[in-house]
């Protein structure tokens, strides 16, 4: 499903974020990406939806080789991958409803189907009553949940989340995790970068630990492994 071979990534300023990474993630897996800040987790994630390109190495998602994909095909790749951004990346002038609906408008769903699916997913993340609010009127946790709703609303094959619970209180965090487990149970691949020892150690899944740009540990049903 996701295959990374000998990935190197050096940024324009000379910083090397990834230093030879090899990963194979199967369809339907649930994977935690752990590691200290600056270890290369975010870069690892950005490569998958092609916000960044590797300096060297190949990434294959499904049957698409990202190193050969044409620029104009990138949007279509991104539609199969729901991304929950660390900084939410909500459209500031659009309401909660409009932000989530955007992901469906892009794939040209019918207005009727959009309305139905958006309301359903807002129910899932517990924001049905905030549908008309602007992002600026929401708390950080609520904005995070809008971002999650947008990522999962079009039932992508892969959901990638960069610290989705970083700004949430414990109750909401567990609620979000429950949502992730549910969509994972439907066969969606989940890749989640996190600093939450509690979550990783409680909901046991595959753990990939990145340090200094290389994978130092890759275990099924692994532990968080770092002291906070």
């Amino acid at each position: 499903m996701i295959l990374m071979k000998d990935i190197y990534k050096t940024y324009g300023n000379g910083v090397t974020a990834l230093n030879g990474v090899n990963v194979d993630i199967e369809q339907g897996e649930f994977v935690y990406i752990v590691g200290p800040s600056g270890a290369g987790k975010s870069t690892f994630i950005k490569l998958m939806y092609r916000e960044e390109k590797p300096t060297k190495g190949s990434i294959i998602i499904g049957d698409t080789d990202l190193s050969e994909i044409k620029e104009r095909k990138v949007p279509y790749l991104r539609r199969d991958i729901g991304v929950v951004f660390q900084d939410f990346k909500l459209l500031p002038k659009m309401s909660v409803y409009e932000n989530v609906a955007f992901a469906l408008e892009v794939i040209e769903e019918s207005p009727k189907s959009i309305r139905k699916q958006v309301m359903e997913v807002l129910e899932v993340v517990g924001l049905k009553n905030k549908a008309r609010s602007l992002p600026s009127e929401l708390s950080g946790g609520e904005q995070q949940r809008v971002s999650i709703a947008r990522a999962i609303v079009n039932h992508p094959k892969i959901v990638i989340a960069d610290e989705p619970t970083g700004n949430l209180d414990p109750d909401t965090s567990w609620g979000i995790m429950k949502t992730f487990e549910e969509i994972n149970a439907r066969g969606t691949t989940i890749i989640m970068a996190t600093h939450s020892k509690e979550i990783v150690n409680t909901i046991k899944k595959r753990v990939i630990a990145i340090e200094g740009g290389i994978i130092v540990r890759d275990e099924q049903r692994g532990e968080y492994g770092y002291e906070i």
Partner: protein, 299 residues
């Protein structure tokens, strides 16, 4: 890939919504469009009218060839034939001394009554009224006519006509240059304002790309928004032109009593100018908006 109609509707809807979402930026853009288009409109109205007036004055220039009093009827006909053969002649028409006297009486109004006395013993010459095909040829033709026999005097208001031509030449060039400069300033100012409003939205564009929107999908609402900004900005200038021109035309055109100078008629001129302003506004709006978005689509 062809866009679905409902997606097109979605883009139109988004374009309209953006007008409201961007509140002050919209007002700034529309304000810039309005201000510059008013300038362009007023200036265009002025230049086009002056141009028309100059043209009608030029076209009105005629050479009055006073025929010698001693000329016989045959001499007069021969003279007329000779004049017609000069290169660049538009028309030659004969006006007898009686016609000339009537014209004089009419043009003098009440004071002209006294001239009726001369009807018995007319002191005026017969006249050939000659028009040049190209007004600028007037001087050459006049001097050629002056060489012929039985020409008493050739009259075409030499100094005035020459100065007028000279003046018109400069006025037209300067007017045209100013209009072009003004339109370019307008394009620059408006597209810059729109650029600023869109630059403030570069994050918005990059987010849309990250969520899987194609460039076309992102561009359409901006296209509609630009069009709307241009059209909204044209409303006041159009009203100014239609209202202002109507006022001037109805109040002042009658007072300009020289028969040969007239304002361009309100209908269709003011309507045509308004449509033109609307067109300029729409094109500038779209252009400014699409050009600005283009920069940010390379995420």
């Amino acid at each position: 890939m062809a866009m679905r109609f409902r997606t097109f509707l979605r883009h139109v809807r988004e374009g309209f919504k953006n007008i409201f979402r961007n509140g002050w930026m919209t007002i700034a853009s529309v304000g810039a469009v309005t201000t510059t288009l008013i300038l362009v409109a007023v200036f265009l109205a002025l230049v086009l009218n002056l141009n028309e007036m100059a043209k009608s004055i030029e076209d009105d220039v005629q050479i009055n060839t006073m025929i010698d009093l001693t000329a016989t009827e045959d001499d007069i006909i021969e003279l007329g034939d000779k004049i017609e053969q000069i290169e660049g002649i538009d028309s030659v028409s004969f006006s007898s001394n009686d016609d000339e006297l009537q014209k004089l009486i009419v043009s003098m109004g009440e004071e002209g009554e006294a001239w009726h006395l001369f009807e018995q013993d007319n002191p005026l010459n017969h006249v050939y009224i000659v028009r040049a095909l190209v007004p600028e040829d007037t001087e050459r033709i006049a001097s050629e006519i002056a060489e012929f026999n039985y020409v008493d005097q050739v009259n075409y208001g030499k100094d005035v006509v020459e100065q007028l031509f000279e003046f018109n030449k400069y006025a037209r060039t300067i007017g045209l240059a100013l209009v072009i400069a003004l339109v370019f300033t307008a394009i620059f100012l408006i597209s810059n304002t729109i650029k600023i409003t869109i630059m403030a939205r570069s994050t918005e564009i990059s987010i849309q790309k990250l969520v899987g929107a194609t460039n076309g999908f992102i561009r359409w609402p901006f296209f509609i928004e630009g069009l709307l900004l241009g059209v909204l900005g044209s409303i006041v200038p159009m009203a100014v032109i239609l209202g202002g021109y109507y006022y001037l035309y109805t109040n002042f055109n009658d007072q300009i009593t020289f028969s040969f100078v007239e304002m361009l008629p309100f209908n269709p001129f003011a309507w045509q100018l308004s449509l033109m302003i609307l067109g300029i506004g729409a094109i500038i709006g779209i252009w400014g908006s699409v050009m600005s978005v283009r920069k940010f689509l390379k995420v």
